[in-house]
Amino acid sequence: MNKKWISAPYLVWMVIFIVVPLFLVGFYGITVRTDTGFVFSLEPLQRCFEPTYLKVLGRSVLLAAISTVICLILGYPIAMILTSKDFSDKNIYLMLFVIPMWMNFLLRTYAWLTLLEKNGLINVLLQKIGLNPIHILYTNQAVVLGMVYNFLPFMVLPIYSVLKKLDSSLIEAAQDLGANGFQTFIKVIFPLSIPGVVSGITMVFMPAVTTFVISRLLGGGHYYLIGNLIEEQFLSVGNWHFGSALSIFLMIIILISIFITSHYETDKEGSVGLW
Amino acid sequence: MSKHIIELKNIDKVYDGNPVLKNMNLYIRKNEFLTLLGPSGCGKTTTLRIIGGFETPDKGDVLFEGKKINTLPPYKRKVNTVFQKYALFPHLTVAENVAFGLKIKKMDKHTMEEKVKTMLHLVNLSGFENRSITSLSGGQQQRVAIARALVNEPEVLLLDEPLGALDLKLRKEMQIELKNMQQRLGITFIFVTHDQEEALTMSDTIVVMNEGVIQQVGSPIDIYNEPENRFVAKFIGESNIVDGIMLDDYLVDFAGYHFPCVDKGFGQNQPVDVVIRPEDVKIVTPAEGMIQGEVKSVIFKGVHYEMQVTSGDFTWMVHSTLMEAEGTQVGIQIGPNDIHIMKKEAEA
C-alpha cells in the first residue's frame, strides 16, 4: 500500500497555517502602505536601526544573555550533582525539575509578582528580621529574575542528559593518567558536555529574548523588550509593517542561535568520527 | 512430483539504481526443500520477497501453479513467510499470534482453537497459549513464527534466515526439526541462508547465488562434489583450487604431474580449474607421492588435523586424521574420483 498520501492533509495544513503566514510577515516587513496600496520599501526594516529601537534590541539581547549566564552558572552544578553516583533517587529529583517547567508560564511569573511587590511576602519577612525592604519589582533585576526562574530547567536538562551519557570510564581514565578532580573536569568532563551546554544556552536564550510577558508583568510598563515592541505594533499601534520587520529581526536572531547549536551538534559527531 | 509450483522467469530487480537480480530463471518443484544460498547482498532475500509478494519484479514473471502472480498482493497468495526476526505481534499472546491468519479467514472459534492447539503441539509449545511473546526465548519465538505460518496450511512456506538469531546448538536442533516437519507435512519449503553447512544439511535442492545471478542449482551432493565454478567451489566447503590443463579426456595436468581423472569432454589442452577438497588429499611417503612437499603448519581441529603442505609455489590444504610434524617431507596422492574439473571462467 502506498501510505504516503495520508500525510497530505497535514501538508496542506502546514502550508496554509505556517508557510503562508510567515510569507505574509515577510511581505509586510518589506512594504509600506500608501494610498495606492502596498509598495515595496525598506523603511520598516530601516526603522529597526533607529537608536530608540536599537536600544530595545540591545536591552533584549543583554537581559537574555545575562539570564542565560546565570542559568548556566546555577544549572551546570545541578546537572553534575544529579548525575553523580550518590543519587540513587535521581529520577525523582529530575522530575522535580520538570514539574515547574510545565506549570503555566504566566503563573510562574505571577507568583514572583506577588512575592516581590512592595508589601509582598519577601519584604514583610525582610522587615521582620530587621532588614531593609528591597524594591526590585519593575526593574531589570526583576526581569532577569523572572527569566532565570522560568528557564533554569531548560539549562539543566540538556546538560544533564549529555553528562548522563558520558562514559564513566573516560573520567576514570583521566584519573588513572594522573588528573585530579579539577583537571578532570576542565580537560575531560566540560569539553565533552559542550553540546549540552550549547543547547541549554539556546533553550534559555531563545525564549528569554522573545518574551514579552515577563517584561510586561515584572518589568512594568517602562522596560520594553523586543517582544513588547512587536506586541505593541500589532495590538495597539497597528503598524504591521514595522511589527513584521521586528519579527523578521527576531527570527534572524533565533536562526543564528539554532545555526550555532546545530553547528555544535555536527561538531560533536565529527569528533566522534575522529575516534 | 516434478510439477513446478513456482516459476521465476527472466526476473530483473533494481534498487536505487543497483541491480539486485539479473535475468533470474528458477523453478521450484512441489514438496521440495529448496535453499537459496549465497553471501549477503546476493539477491536471495529479494527473490524470497518477490515470491512472498512484498516486492514486484521490474521485469519478468512470477508464476504460481502456472498462473502469473506478479502483482498479486501478499494477502491473496497461498504462501506464508517465516521472517528473519520472526515479526511476531508483540501485543498479542502466543495463541493470538498463531490464530491471526485464521481469524482473518473468519474461521469458527472452535475449529480455530483446535488448529492452534494442534499446531502448537507440533512445534512443541503446548501450554504456551497465553504467554506473551516477549517472555519467550529466541528458539520459542522462532517456533511460534513457524506455527503462525503453517497453521494457514500454505502450499509454500518461505523462510528468511530463520535460524540466524539462534545459538549454534539450538540451530542444529532446529535444522533437523524443520527438515522433519517439511517431510511430514509435505509442504514446499523455500529457505534462505548464507550458511553453506545449513544448506547442505537440510535441502533437496540448493540454489547458489552471487551478485544477483544464479551460480548453480543442484542437490547438496552435486553442489559439493561437482561445483560448476570457482565461486561455488570456494563458497561451499573448503577446497584447493589449482590451475590446470585438460590434456585429453580423463587426463589432467596440474602441479607438474599428469593426473588420471573421471572428467571428459573439455577438448584437448584446455586450461581448466581443478578443485580438490582438503579431505581428499592423501598424505603418503615422498616416494609414494604423485607430488612432493613440505608440511608448513599443523592445526588440530578436533576430528582432524588441518595441514598446509607447500609444493612448488602452491600450498595445499589437507585434512587428515593422521598428523605429520611440521617440516616433514611428504608425498601427496589424489585419486581420480577426487579431482573435479571446472571450465575456466572468463573472469576479470
Binding site: 495520508i6 510577515v25 510562574r108 506577588t114 511587590e117 508583568l217 | 508483540p90 491468519g101
Partner: protein, 267 residues
C-alpha cells in the same frame, strides 16, 4: 562526605527557589484576606468566588473546549502525517521534518502574529475566519500537530518493519493490518502525543493572545489581563487548580512512558 552535604544543600536551595513561589501562591489561595503577606486564617472563599466569576467560567469553558478539540484534531492529522512521513524517501522526509520543526523552534510571538495577520487578512477579504474561537482553535491545532508527529514517529521507527508484511502475509488486507497490527503498536505514542497536545493547549498564552478575538479569552489570557491590573487572590485559586491539573496530566504522561520503558527492558 562534606562534598555530598554541600551538594544536598545546594540542591535544596535550588528547589526552594523553584518551588517556594508556587507553594506560597497555593497557600495564599486559602488565605482569608486580600493580603499576600499575612496569614488571616483558612478559607475557600476565593475558590467560591472563582467558580462564580462569569469571566473565569467562560474562560475555563473556552480553554477546555479548545484544548479538547485541538488535541483531537491534531492527533488525527498528526498520526496520519507521521505514518506518511515515515514511509517517505529520505530527502522528502527531511524537508517535511524541517517544516514540522518550524513552529516548534519559531518564537511563539512570531507564530502568533503571523497567524493573526493571516486571519485578519482572510477575514477582511472573505468575511470568514473573523478572530475569535475558531481562529484560536485553528492556531492551537497548528502548533499541536508537530508535537503529535514527534511523539508518534519514534514509535514507528521502533516498529519492526516486517510486522506489517507479516500481517499481509497471513492474509490481512492493508487496512486490517493497519488497525490490528500497526495501530496497537504505535498507540502509546499517539496517546502521549494527544496528552502533550492537550497540555500544551491548556497552557498556551502567547499564540492564543494574538489569535483570539473580542470576548473570547482562555484562562491564560484572563490571568494575564487580571495580573496586569494587579494581584488578585482569585488568580491564586485559579493557579492552584491549574497547577494541580497540569501536574496530574504530567504524572499521567510520565507514568505511561515509564511503563513503556519497563516493558521495553523486559523485552
Amino acid at each position: 562526605m562534606v562534598n555530598r552535604i554541600m551538594q544536598r544543600i545546594y540542591l535544596c536551595l535550588i528547589f526552594l527557589f523553584l518551588y517556594a513561589p508556587i507553594v506560597i501562591l497555593i497557600v495564599f489561595s486559602f488565605n482569608d484576606s486580600k493580603s499576600r503577606a499575612k496569614w488571616n486564617g483558612f478559607t475557600l472563599r476565593w475558590y467560591k468566588e472563582m467558580i462564580q466569576d462569569p469571566q473565569i467560567r467562560s474562560a475555563l469553558y473556552y480553554t477546555l473546549a479548545i484544548a479538547i478539540i485541538a488535541a483531537l484534531i491534531a492527533t488525527i492529522i498528526g498520526t496520519f502525517a507521521a505514518i506518511g512521513i515515515h514511509n517517505m524517501k529520505r530527502w522528502k522526509r527531511n524537508i517535511i521534518m524541517n517544516l514540522t520543526y518550524l513552529p516548534v523552534l519559531n518564537p511563539d510571538i512570531v507564530t502568533g502574529i503571523s497567524l493573526m495577520i493571516l486571519f485578519i487578512f482572510i477575514s477582511s477579504r472573505f468575511s470568514i475566519l473573523s478572530p475569535g474561537f475558531g481562529t484560536m482553535l485553528l492556531a492551537h491545532i497548528t502548533f499541536n500537530i508537530p508535537y503529535v508527529i514527534l511523539s508518534v514517529l519514534p514509535k514507528l521507527k521502533q516498529l519492526d518493519k516486517n510486522l506489517y508484511e507479516a500481517a499481509l502475509d497471513l492474509g490481512a488486507t492493508p487496512w486490517y493490518a493497519f488497525f490490528q497490527v500497526i495501530l496497537p503498536q504505535i498507540a502509546p505514542g499517539i496517546v502521549t502525543g494527544a496528552l502533550l497536545a492537550f497540555t500544551l493547549s491548556l497552557d498556551d498564552f502567547v499564540i492564543s493572545f494574538f489569535t483570539t478575538g473580542a470576548g473570547v479569552s482562555n484562562l491564560s489570557i484572563l490571568i494575564y489581563s487580571m495580573a496586569r491590573r494587579g494581584v488578585n487572590p482569585k488568580i491564586n485559586a485559579l493557579s492552584t487548580v491549574l497547577f494541580i491539573t497540569v501536574l496530574f496530566l504530567l504524572l499521567l504522561i510520565n507514568a505511561r512512558s515509564s511503563k513503556d520503558r519497563v516493558r521495553k527492558e523486559h523485552a
